[in-house]
Homo-oligomer: 136 residues x 3
């Protein structure tokens, strides 16, 4: 059995920014030499998400507006600690911070429109995603 681990680093220019990472994940899986197994892509922060959906700019804007409605900026209790990112924590919870992708015949077993995204909700600082693959 093979196990491989790596980390993707991000420092977004904007506080909120969505970054497509499908190619980075595919390259990591190819390098691992795993033919059959799983790869986990998981944000190591509590104000960022990893999700799978469409690579279409209009939809990405729709998702951002929708998240603003569901988790608006407001005066959260959390801000008494000096933070100002309460809404970013809630967006992390809606979107979930991880996905697990099957590896089949050495490749990401994704549907035709499925792309992997890192969604930053409190950026402009160095943050990480862990990649971990296991299989044969």
């Amino acid at each position: 059995m093979k196990v491989a681990t790596d980390y993707l680093w991000f420092q977004t220019a904007e506080r909120e920014q969505f970054v497509r990472i499908t190619d980075e994940v595919a390259r990591f899986v190819a390098d691992s030499g795993i033919q059959e197994g799983f790869v986990l892509i998981s944000a190591m922060h509590i104000t960022a998400a990893v999700y799978v959906n469409d690579w279409e700019e209009g939809l990405i804007e729709d998702i951002r507006e929708w998240l603003d409605r569901l988790a608006p900026k407001r005066d959260y209790r959390h801000h008494r600690t000096g933070e100002d990112n309460g809404e970013a924590h809630l967006k992390n919870l809606i979107m979930h911070h991880q996905v697990l992708i099957p590896i089949t015949q050495g490749e990401l077993d994704l549907g035709p429109w499925q792309q992997v995204f890192y969604a930053e909700f409190d950026g402009r600082r160095r943050k990480r995603v862990v990649l971990k693959a296991m299989g044969v």
Copy 2:
């Protein structure tokens, strides 16, 4: 170590339809011969979800109504591409597109009320779910 892969196909009669798939997943695991491990059940589309919850018709209607409130049909930017399914993408994101179930002593290690569902939000066409199991 054993790895098994299969795909479930769906073509729902309705645009939005929820389908219980616990038995199909259990059969796949039994056929795999895996006694201890994991099985991933993951929608290969960005307008459908896979989730675990109750097999109770009233609750399923509650979930559908609730999703309509959180992700209403409206004129999304995504529709400029010719699509009309913006809300289906958002429902996929709330519900998440995958679950991972432990396999213990050859069986799905689920709680007494846990059932696996495929939730279609933009159906009436052929769509897929990938099943992937790994273990010993």
Copy 3:
């Protein structure tokens, strides 16, 4: 390859209560002897969640208030069965019932602020979380 399985039991004093379980998960992984792999932490009930976020009391209160807004108590169809916990099912769906944590060099590969929580939405009875680890 090694596989380990265990169950955490909960009986919360309150109907809704959040319990940090990072230490229990870390101990389980240490006992498993697994150096590289995955550990799944998954609620076995449909009215409880397992999630990763901040260990900060103000934020936990924010999350609870926010969930009350997104999934308010009301007269759900599900209540015709005699239940009164419709909102607890919906909160389970928003928060998701499971997380998968990478094990690297024998430890939980979490970011500095990531803590694992069990979120009970319909407690005061015995409920379970399954822990399953697999790796080398």
